[in-house]
């Protein structure tokens, strides 16, 4: 008797392996100096968007609810950690201590907001839930964009009107300068740290899906009433998932804010949430590996299209539409599958059939 590995475990290990291989490959490219500045600059954002995509996939794929407010959680993570790092950067000079703390601060704040927002939001369904998450995301963005915080010898000053309204003493320092946001955040994000966090995110995601909680959440997704009737506490499980995804999005925000000198709230608008949703849908709803791959491809695509100048974003739009139609249209999909089967059959006649069955989900 052959010992059987659970398909889910196998799947997760393939993903870990792929990420590891990609990481090593990039490290080799960096150390041999064969990497373009463009690609090097993209490494941290790719990790950030991958983490975001995985976290949103937990909401959309596992919890089965459409959320359009992921950018809001990212915003909270980014702002809270940037404030933290700016306050302590003189006292804690060692980035290896400061940055993990910042990640925790950002993640926990985002998770807290996830719970606060989740309580009312999760009572709603479908498109109404989607629009309320979008609304919360926009509120978070608007409030941060209107927020002025500074401190001087007299303490903390907060205003929602203007910089002048703070009445800061001449020795005072601005922390958040309204729409100008926060500047001076130490650049603690490195590709290595970002990759490690992406790896941890994947471990969390896969284990969550395979855990008792994860299975309970999926049963709620598939049939809420049946799940309720066997005594599952729906609100609790939904909130847990929501808080977890908010935490991960917050962590992505921390990586983001510590990768740039300045941080402005307008970055975290609904377009960003939608972009992350595109990653999730294109990568396959519920497919964690797919989310990462889609995030990598779609983050790089507009940059690689730079050579066609003015037609760049137009091309991006066309690719997006074509990819969506090719992967979701029944006729085209079955055409692909048929041909791949034939193609595979040329090499290994016997295995082809079983492989296709296994791939199908």
């Amino acid at each position: 008797m052959k010992k059987k590995i659970k398909p889910m475990t196998k799947k997760s290990f393939i993903t870990y392996g792929l990420v590891l291989i990609a990481f090593v490959a990039v490290e080799i490219l960096i150390s041999t100096g064969n990497i373009s500045s463009m690609l090097k600059g993209l490494l941290v954002p790719i990790c950030v968007y991958s983490i975001l995509a995985v976290s949103l996939n937990l909401t959309v794929g596992i919890l089965g609810e459409l959320s359009l407010g992921q950018a809001g959680f990212m915003c909270i993570g980014a702002y809270s950690s940037a404030i933290f790092s700016n306050m302590v950067k003189e006292t804690i000079t060692e980035p290896m201590i400061r940055f993990p703390l910042a990640i925790l601060v950002g993640g926990i704040f985002a998770a807290l907001f996830g719970i606060i927002i989740g309580i009312p939001v999760l009572r709603l369904r479908g498109d109404y839930l989607a629009i309320v998450t979008l609304a919360f995301g926009e509120i978070i963005k608007n409030v941060f964009a209107a927020l002025y915080i500074g401190y001087d010898s007299a303490g903390l000053h907060i205003s929602l009107k203007s910089q002048g309204d703070l009445g800061l003493a001449p020795d005072g320092k601005m922390i958040i300068n309204g729409a100008l946001g926060i500047s001076g955040t130490p650049n603690d994000s490195t590709f290595e740290i970002a990759a490690v966090i992406l790896f941890i995110t994947l471990i969390i995601a896969y284990n969550f899906v395979n855990s008792r909680t994860g299975r309970a959440v999926m049963s709620i997704r598939d049939n809420r009433i049946a799940a309720e009737s066997v005594g599952l506490n729906i609100t609790k499980y939904k909130l847990m998932t929501f808080a977890l995804t908010a935490f991960l999005a917050g962590v992505a925000g921390v990586l983001y804010s510590h990768n740039f000198y300045s941080l402005q709230a307008s970055k975290f608008d609904y377009n960003l949430s939608i972009l992350v949703l595109v990653f999730v849908v294109l990568g396959g709803i519920g497919n964690i590996r797919g989310s990462v791959i889609a995030a990598i491809i779609l983050t790089m695509l507009p940059e690689l299209l730079r050579s066609i100048n003015n037609y760049r974003m137009l091309m991006y739009a066309i690719v997006l539409i074509v990819m969506m139609i090719c992967t979701s249209n029944e006729t085209i999909r079955s055409f692909f599958v048929r041909n791949i089967e034939k193609f595979k059959g040329l090499f290994k006649k016997n295995k082809a059939q079983s492989d296709v069955v296994k791939e199908g989900e």
Binding site: V60, L160, I274, I318, S328
Partner: protein, 293 residues
Amino acid sequence: MAFLETLINGISLGSIYAVIALGYTLVYGIAKMLNFAHGDVIMVGGYAVFTAMVTWNWSPWLAMLFAIVVCTLLGITIEKVAYKPLRKASSLSVLITAIGVSYFLQNMALLIFKEKPKVFTSVVNIPKISLFDGKVVIKGETTAAIITSVVIVVALSIFINHTQKGRAMLAVSEDKDAAQLMGINVNSTISLTFAIGSGLAAVAGMLLCSSYPTLTNTTGAMPGIKAFVAAVFGGIGSIPGAMIGGILIGVIEILGRAYISPQLADAIVFAVLILVLMIKPTGILGKKINEKV
């Protein structure tokens, strides 16, 4: 007096949101998809009027007709090329495709009309009304927006409830498969919905650009989102709901900006939306969803 004027400004903005929201709600109700590209069809409508009136020197009426034709054709094309192949796919796939279409339209407009903003010539030729010795002024555009939105709501309601095509739309919105079995051509009904929705977008584009006469390739994006919010606010799928939602969103936005904080006006709009949905989870006039056990 200032309050009255602000209120009128809000209703003016709200009626435009209402016309846009009608397009959203119609398409959502029948095709069950969020057409994120709707806002960009508005922008195309604006450019169509602009080209006809300013570049070709057509009369406003002819230009309006031209824009409606352009947008209707565009709507049907988009539906055929981008959405129809996905009829059986999940609604999320269609949503993403709609986002792709939205990017496509924006960037196409950028290439054709270039990046400099155009100033729109108002198509409205209604004199302004002065009340209380000129202390309160109602612009011609405001009158036009309010009248147009009311006319459209009434016309749409009559069309949907009292014509055969309209009732076919209702049937498709209730149950696509059953409608098909009853001999209704679902595909052509959905195409018709898109045609009407896009025609409305052209009208909305004219009203929007007449009131706020600047035209760039992203003109439709933000009003589109706000109108989407308005459609949900009123209960998505409901035609009178879209009207009420649109007007309320416009009024709240303007009052919030005038009396609370301009920076937070949008946040206030969204906060009110959340509150309403907490109390009435399917919007003001939304249907109650019955759960099947």
